[in-house]
Amino acid sequence: MSSLTIRNLRKSFGSVEVLKGIDIEAKAGEFIALVGPSGCGKSTLLAMIAGLESVSEGEIRIGDRLVNSVAPKDRDIAMVFQSYALYPTMTVRENITFGMESRGVPRPQRDEAVKRVAALLQIEPLLGRKPGQLSGGQRQRVAMGRALVRDPKLFLFDEPLSNLDAKLRVDMRSEIKKLHHRVGKTTIYVTHDQVEAMTLASRIAVMHQGQVQQFDEPQAVYDRPANMFVAGFMGSPAMNFIQTEVGTDTDGRPAVSFKAAGGGTATLALHNGIAGQISTRNVILGIRPEHIFRYSPELKAAKPSIAKVEAPVEMVEPTGAETIGFMRFGDLEVVGRFDPDEAPRMGETITLGVDMSHACLFDPITKNLI
């Protein structure tokens, strides 16, 4: 088990710079998720950690060892691919032992290792089959088996679950989590699925346009997104952004205001000390959908940070466990999550409660969190 250190890592293809100075440090045993939209550079970063892509600038260390120019096979890593990349002409057993065979591990040892991994992943009955005869979930297991069978310093996962159907994906997700808990290897996990990142990782690196936007623990990334990109990317439905003007409410407390649906102005009082840090006239208010709900005096009494605003309901989408409501705030559509029992109806004008203690304010120019 060892740590992974990435310092000022850069990668260019021709004149296009795809990674613009990445700094990530994974402690031994940590589970790091690299998350971001397609084209953000996360897979390139993973390929560079694996040694499949060359380093243009900067350094990669596994433990204390600088591995910039070390061949993939000598980095002591294992990788699970999105396509699984199982060797189609080999049996499951041969797939799992190919790496050890390449390294000249003697046969009894290989057999022993296969037995251990097959038991761990419950794939004993599949050992004699070819990948073509396996289901998607089984292939996934074999791919993990191939990675687990050696005792590598580092596990790399490249969107391993994205080819599975929804139900299987959830199952495998928790299985990977249990497995990491048991094996405890340093793991780098690339995904575009923020739920996977949230559920699995001990820390998340959110990437966009070749840069790490935020590198922090999952809850911190969710609650205090470093900028509007992270705020919008993490969470579904996405965070609501409302262009507001800074001022005071009728009680003289610091507040933000925006044009409401009817033509009037809605004012939301700011919570706590945040107001003191605002230096601009305008800010962008970020509110997650779960912090917008049906207002009631009892809620307000229990939580003074709740602000009140009226809005017409344009559409509702029941999902079963909750109902998503789309409300009009001036020019904007704002999304809220409702308990199905108190879900609004289409066309209704509803009094909403907005929990301002969870509000995020962003600088409209730099788009960064205030």
Partner: protein
């Protein structure tokens, strides 16, 4: 209209449709049969004449149902018939073609597989350009290469030798085999190669353990394409070799052109069949792959 009349109308329509269907089927099969006869005729005539006796051919013409039977034409054509003074039949030329086509096929296919592997899985800066340039070889007319080859084969002492022809065919064939293999290997996922590299396999081990086991379909196509092409080639054969060293295509032209013989159609038919047999066998046994090679060659 009552239900009964509607049913009757439907029946009549169905009958007309049925008759039209039958008529169109008949036309389709009649046309196919007509063309099939035209296509098969030359082969059938050859086979018949190789077993007919020469006097009977002379009397009834080439295109006739056999009224005599002999096997001696095949034996003559194989080992004793005289072409331009030497009386050794086609055996030597047949073997020349075999010793030319087999090594040239194996070598050019092996090189094509390796080239295709590099150009699809180990690309480097400029490798696409190099591939495009190699493709030009597919279109080169042999005539352009005649004088340079004559010079080079002369310098190497390979004039009038099967080895010379092997060299010519291997180098001419590289473009084709590389094209075939590269286009096939491109469809093998790159992730397999990456996984193997992480598993500690190098360039050669990946080729041996991963690429080669996936290659039989394309290797069969390439081998069939190269073998029939090289076996049937005439220009280089007739220019760079003569007499006993000629491949069978050149020998067949010499045989049928030799004015000294009275037209011995029986022996000549057998000789032509001997020359046609290897590629025909390859075609009948590997037809599926043969067609695949054609269509791939066309989509370059």
């Amino acid at each position: 209209m009552t239900d009964a009349t509607i049913a009757a109308v439907h029946d009549r329509e169905a009958a007309i449709a049925g008759r039209r269907h039958l008529a169109s089927r008949t036309i389709i099969y009649a046309l196919l049969t007509f063309f099939a006869l035209i296509y098969l005729a030359p082969l059938v005539i050859l086979v018949f004449n190789s077993f007919r006796e020469q006097p009977e051919i002379a009397q009834n013409g080439l295109i006739a149902f056999p009224r005599s039977f002999q096997l001696s034409a095949w034996a003559d054509a194989w080992s004793t018939y005289c072409i331009g003074g030497t009386c050794e039949g086609m055996r030597r030329n047949f073997l020349n073609s075999l010793w030319m086509a087999v090594p040239a096929t194996v070598l050019s296919t092996a090189l094509g597989a390796l080239n295709g592997y590099v150009l699809s899985k180990w690309r480097f800066r400029g490798s696409e350009t190099l591939f495009t340039l190699m493709l030009l070889g597919v279109f080169m007319p042999g005539q352009i290469a005649l004088m340079p080859w004559a010079f080079i084969l002369g310098k190497l002492g390979l004039t009038n030798s099967t080895y010379g022809l092997i060299l010519v065919h291997v180098i001419q064939g590289i473009s084709f085999t590389t094209l075939f293999c590269r286009n096939y290997y491109v469809s093998i996922p790159d992730d397999l190669i990456k996984a193997a590299r992480i598993d500690g396999a190098g360039f050669w081990r990946i080729f041996r353990k991963i690429i080669l086991p996936l290659s039989p379909p394309i290797l069969i196509v390439t081998v069939i394409w190269q073998f029939t092409g090289i076996w049937n080639e005439y220009l280089f054969g007739v220019v760079f070799t003569s007499g006993r060293e000629q491949p069978i295509t050149a020998a067949l032209v010499a045989l049928t052109a030799s004015g000294t013989n009275v037209r011995a159609y029986d022996v000549m038919s057998a000789a032509v069949l001997i020359g046609a047999l290897p590629p025909l066998l390859v075609y009948f046994f590997g037809g599926k792959y043969f067609v695949r090679g054609l269509t791939q060659g066309a989509i370059k």
